[in-house]
């Protein structure tokens, strides 16, 4: 371990030594009209054919031999700025970029973040600009970031209406979803029909499917990193929209002109959504609140305060009440030590809460996960060839499996707090980007992660440490009876894990437009989602690793070929991924309000492999992409000994979200200045399903018997969605500006099955197979405005 750290330190020093007589050009790039910092702006030193990009806070720094240079700042959709710089000493140059458009006939979509960089070793990353996402037709017209992501190769979900998303065959709980660096524990509203992100509040997002940099940790499959906007530092303005499902309104403006800004936005669906046929006592709705304050304290210090609060609320006839959602607050402080050292310190509090009230059982149930996360990240812009990042991260978790409280004086429920669990997760990393030669760039990093399961009340003790037994006579798994319990203080550690997570990517540029890349990553995931349904549900809770549960260990290798041809780019990647200690559940396991989940768990493994292709057209009147994924995602849980069968007889079975073929075509055509047309077409292998192979009757109940798990498939899914965006006054840049988005989901009304259920027809008493499809053709209109 020490050797590796020393080696990387030496490498840096070696690079630093190799140059002398150098000076640093640095600064922050902002958008001229709003003062919003801009990410991923290209900063090119024309003479040296080298350059850099701005970081997530709009900052750039590049150290060069002294001399006179032409520096080009470019970002698609913005006018390119060229500056002559005489670099004899350090130069600080802040840039403000103006939007293109007025003079041009073609309105270019701000798609720069999506443009392919062939030189960077970073691979397996998809970026989508919020402008692109807003033009993608979606069901009921509600712009949906997660649904947009599923149009990209390697990203899928467990079917229409399923919560979460799956990246390269990984499970939904294996995605790290960050909103302004805060971890979200659920990305959906209304069980997966909508995502929690208000599009107006989002600046940018990046999805890492592989080659995940060392600064991220804690989830084995992917990182979805989303940035909220800072707010307009120049003028007060508003943005909003009225749709069929929800309406949104967002205000932003300067607190101190050019120095400090605020942003506050809300979105709410209409109560009684989906319930027009029922009487008025029923409610089902969701809302989100986003708020952000940002302050430029001085040249070298910036402070950001951001927060989110979202809830889903259900109330069915006062019989069933249900409220759940995410919230977070964070404070971030950017500090520039000097032009070469950029730092960010964050303190983040986030929580996921689930509340349930059942009137007829007379109880309320409250559960959740809370964490406090402190991070410190340092970037060292060593020179134009080397960039180093270092950081530490410490997360304290409280897992509350639930408190059950009687809701009436006559209730038969005992007040009970299920045993809370505590843990402390730490990470420390070093990560470097090195331009080894003109052709070879590498990104090498190492993360050391640790997880301490802290003391708690009443940890169960089992004979031989076996919480789950196998009854060989009856051939069933049975929970072991605890032989005692152990209580300890939270300052003690019950079990600790320390792991090394190497990350490595390399890019070889064949020429300016062509490269091949390869990457390897290892990531440990210390918290597990306890869920035995195909897609996550709000009931599901995270459980920490500890005495009985080992962390998930994910390894992934990927290799790819990347090429830019004029306005087009081609990306092809192949990947192979394995996950150890993937949990599975014994048959009939009851996961809800279970105080001893170790009694129903078996550890297995998962693997996924595939080939992804993305052909993209980034410029011109017609833009869009064709994405194709050929992949397989499987899981198996063998018995712990030769005498046990495990789950599904220990055989591999397809994951619920496994889709062999997945093709999407997304296109946007700029007809004229007033009309933009969008379309996407999806063609996918149907999801795995388990067919019955018989039936019997027991105690008046009809019981189907099943084939091997997930051994059949639902019919193929295909669908065409259309949209048209109408901007009545495209030249209007001040005052009230508006546009209409008309959309048609499932345009040819294909009845795609989300499930086939097997049961008895109530009238004929005959068994039958019933196909369920959720959305037929759904027209929608949304009115968007800003002022």
């Amino acid at each position: 371990m020490k050797k590796i750290i020393l080696l990387s330190v030496f490498t840096v020093l070696a690079f630093a030594k190799a140059y002398s007589q150098k000076a640093t050009l640095s600064g922050t790039v902002i958008e001229a009209s709003t003062g919003e910092t801009m990410l991923n702006v290209n900063v090119i030193i024309t003479e040296l054919k080298t350059g850099t990009i701005t970081n997530e806070y709009g900052y750039y720094s590049i150290t060069l031999p002294t001399g006179d240079y032409t520096v080009q700042y470019s970002s698609i959709g913005y006018e390119t700025i060229e500056k002559k710089v005489s670099l004899t000493e350090n130069v600080k140059q802040d840039i403000s970029m103006k939007e293109q458009g007025e003079a041009l006939d073609v309105i270019v979509i701000k798609a720069d973040v999506e443009k392919l960089s062939t030189k960077s070793p970073q691979m397996s990353v998809n970026a989508l600009s919020i402008e692109t996402i807003k033009k993608i037709p979606v069901v009921l017209g509600e712009t949906d970031l997660i649904k947009a992501l599923t149009l990209l190769p390697g990203v899928s979900n467990a079917g229409e209406g399923a919560a979460g998303f799956n990246v390269r065959g990984g499970a939904a709980d294996q995605n790290l979803v960050l909103l302004d660096e805060a971890t979200l524990y659920g990305s959906d509203h209304l069980f997966g029909f909508f995502s929690v992100f208000n599009p107006d509040a989002i600046k940018d997002l990046k999805l890492y499917k592989g080659g995940i940099p060392a600064r991220y940790g804690g989830r084995v499959s992917s990182v979805l990193d989303i940035y909220q906007r800072d707010g307009n530092k120049n003028n007060f303005s508003g943005t909003g929209g009225i749709g069929l499902v929800a309406s949104r309104l967002l205000f932003e403006g300067p607190i101190i002109k050019e120095k400090a800004s605020f942003l506050i936005g809300g979105r709410s669906s209409y109560a009684h959504l989906f319930l027009p046929l029922f009487d008025v006592d029923n409610e089902a709705y969701f809302y989100d609140l986003n708020a952000k304050l940002s302050f430029n304290l001085d040249e070298n210090n910036r402070l950001y305060l951001s927060s989110y609060f979202g809830r889903d609320v259900f109330n069915v006839n006062n019989l069933f009440g249900n409220t759940f959602g995410n919230s977070f607050v964070n404070v971030r402080w950017n500090h520039l030590f000097n032009e070469k050292w950029f730092s960010n310190a964050s303190v983040i509090y986030s929580d996921y809460n689930y509340g349930l009230e059942l009137e007829f059982v007379e109880f309320t149930f409250d559960s959740g996960i809370t964490n406090l996360n402190a991070k410190y990240d340092l970037t060292h812009f060593v020179n134009d060839k080397v960039k180093m990042k270092y950081g530490i991260n410490s997360i304290y978790y409280e897992f509350d499996p639930g408190r059950i409280t009687p809701s009436t004086p006559t209730s038969g429920i005992n007040d009970r707090q299920l045993i809370k669990k505590y843990a402390w997760e730490n990470g420390i990393y070093a990560d470097g980007e090195f331009a080894i030669t003109d052709h070879i760039n590498i990104n090498a990093g190492l993360r050391i992660s640790s997880f301490n399961r802290l003391g708690q009340e009443s940890l169960n003790i089992y004979e031989n440490n076996q919480a789950l037994l196998y009854n060989q006579d009856l051939e069933v798994y049975e929970s072991a009876e605890e032989i005692g319990t152990f209580s300890s203080s939270r300052s003690e550690t019950l079990k600790s894990f320390v792991n090394l997570e190497p990350r490595f990517s390399i890019a070889y540029s064949i020429n300016d437009d062509t490269s091949i890349k390869a990457s390897y990553q290892r990531i440990n995931q210390y918290i597990h989602l306890i869920s035995n349904t195909n897609a996550p549900t709000p009931f599901d809770l995270y459980a920490p690793s500890g005495t009985f549960i080992d962390p998930q260990v994910g390894d992934q290798v990927a290799a790819g070929f990347f090429k830019n041809i004029g306005d087009y780019s081609i990306e092809t990647e192949a990947f192979y991924k394995t996950v150890q200690n993937r949990l599975d559940y014994i048959d009939g396991a009851d996961l809800i309000a279970n105080d001893a989940v170790e009694q129903i768990l078996l550890a297995g493994e998962a693997r996924a492999y595939g080939l992804e292709m993305l052909l993209r057209k980034n410029e011109g009147k017609l833009q869009g992409w064709i994405a194709y994924t050929l992949s397989r995602s499987e899981q198996r849980t063998p018995g712990r000994t030769a005498l046990e069968p495990g789950i599904n007889n220990g055989e591999w079975y397809s994951a619920a979200w496994d889709k062999t073929h997945d093709l999407t075509i997304t296109a946007n055509y700029n007809l004229n200045r007033k009309w933009d047309l969008g379309a996407n077409f999806t063609l996918q292998t149907g999801q795995p399903i388990t067919y019955p192979n018989g039936q019997y009757e027991f105690d008046g109940l009809f019981i189907p018997t099943f084939e091997a798990r997930n051994s059949s498939r639902l019919p193929m899914v295909h669908r065409l969605d259309l949209s048209a965006t109408y901007t009545p006054k495209p030249d209007k840049k001040k005052g009230w500006q508006s546009s209409w988005v008309f959309s048609l989901y499932n345009a040819y009304n294909r009845r795609n099955a989300v499930s086939i259920t097997f049961g008895e027809n109530e009238d004929t008493n005959r068994n039958e197979a019933t196909r369920l499809s959720i959305f037929g053709i759904v027209p929608a209109v949304t009115y968007n405005f800003n002022f």
């Binding site: 019989l319 069933f320 059982v361 549900t537 019955p692 027991f698 105690d699 099943f706 639902l714 008493n765």
Partner: protein
């Protein structure tokens, strides 16, 4: 918990549609299905009823009765072997007073079924329970057809870890529910049935039966499977539901079903 969930799911299905499709399915080999219960009621009478059928193809309509098996139950205290006699349509019955009045839980009983050379056995002990003390009725509207909520109450003995099997029967409906006292230990507890289109004047029979944890787990898995499979985001993984009966001749040909010995209390309730 799942049934509450189904309500929520129902809300979304407004926008959805379902249709019956033709689907060819494979058929697995038939297995013996054993529904065996020895029950003692509050009068102290023991009755033993065993139903033998065979599992069939998914679309098969008629139940396959097993009428030619030889069934006995052994009192493992006295060694006495009592035959259970065939009645009709796969049903075997006995009124032999197996369960004694003093210390009834001290004795185990072994079920023995010989089905053409395949021998199936299971051994169980008597599980006590408590009487139902009250029944309440409430109507839930707002879901199209009115649903009648029937709640039966009982006093859970404290500190024991009790498991219950409940049955609701009227001329039109049969429902099964299970319960444990994990969250209600020592309290006035309840079981709730939801029944559609229930006419006032209907006479319902509600039963409470004592079971052990293994039987509770069996029913829990069984009820999950009865609800489902079939994919979709909320689908629970399909499973083979294994009970407490073993095929001692050929373990591969394991049976479906369960053998339980329960104390039972019942109450009649007329729907208002």
């Amino acid at each position: 918990m799942k049934k509450y969930f189904i309500y929520i799911l129902g809300l979304f299905l407004i926008a959805s549609c379902s249709d019956v499709i033709e689907l060819d399915l494979n058929n697995s080999d038939p297995r013996l299905v054993i529904d065996a219960a020895m029950e003692r009621n509050e009068m102290g009478t023991t009755s033993t009823i065993i139903k033998l059928t065979r599992s069939a193809g998914f679309y098969d309509e008629d139940l396959v009765f097993v009428d030619d098996a030889t069934i006995t139950i052994t009192d493992n205290d006295t060694g006495q072997i009592i035959p259970i006699n065939f009645v009709a349509d796969g049903v075997y019955e006995s009124n032999f007073p197996f369960i004694r009045s003093t210390d009834p839980t001290a004795v185990s009983y072994t079920l023995n079924i010989d089905d053409n050379g395949d021998v199936y056995t299971a051994t169980e002990v008597f599980q006590q329970t408590v009487p139902l003390i009250d029944v309440e009725q409430q109507t839930i509207s707002g879901f199209g057809d009115d649903i009648t909520e029937i709640t039966a109450f009982f006093n859970d003995p404290s500190g024991q870890g009790n498991f219950y099997l409940f049955e609701y029967n009227d001329d039109e409906n049969d429902q099964v529910d299970i319960g444990d006292d994990e969250f209600t230990d020592g309290n006035r507890s309840q079981t709730t049935f939801f029944i559609e289109e229930l006419e006032p004047g209907t006479v319902a029979n509600i039963r409470i039966m004592g079971i052990n944890q293994r039987c509770f787990n069996f029913y829990e898995t069984l009820l999950q499977q009865a609800d489902g499979g079939g994919g979709g985001p909320f689908a629970v993984q399909p499973a083979v539901v294994r009970g407490n009966i073993i095929n001692t001749t050929d373990a591969e040909k394991f049976p479906f079903g369960y053998f339980r010995i329960s104390e039972v209390f019942e109450t009649e309730y007329t729907i208002e």
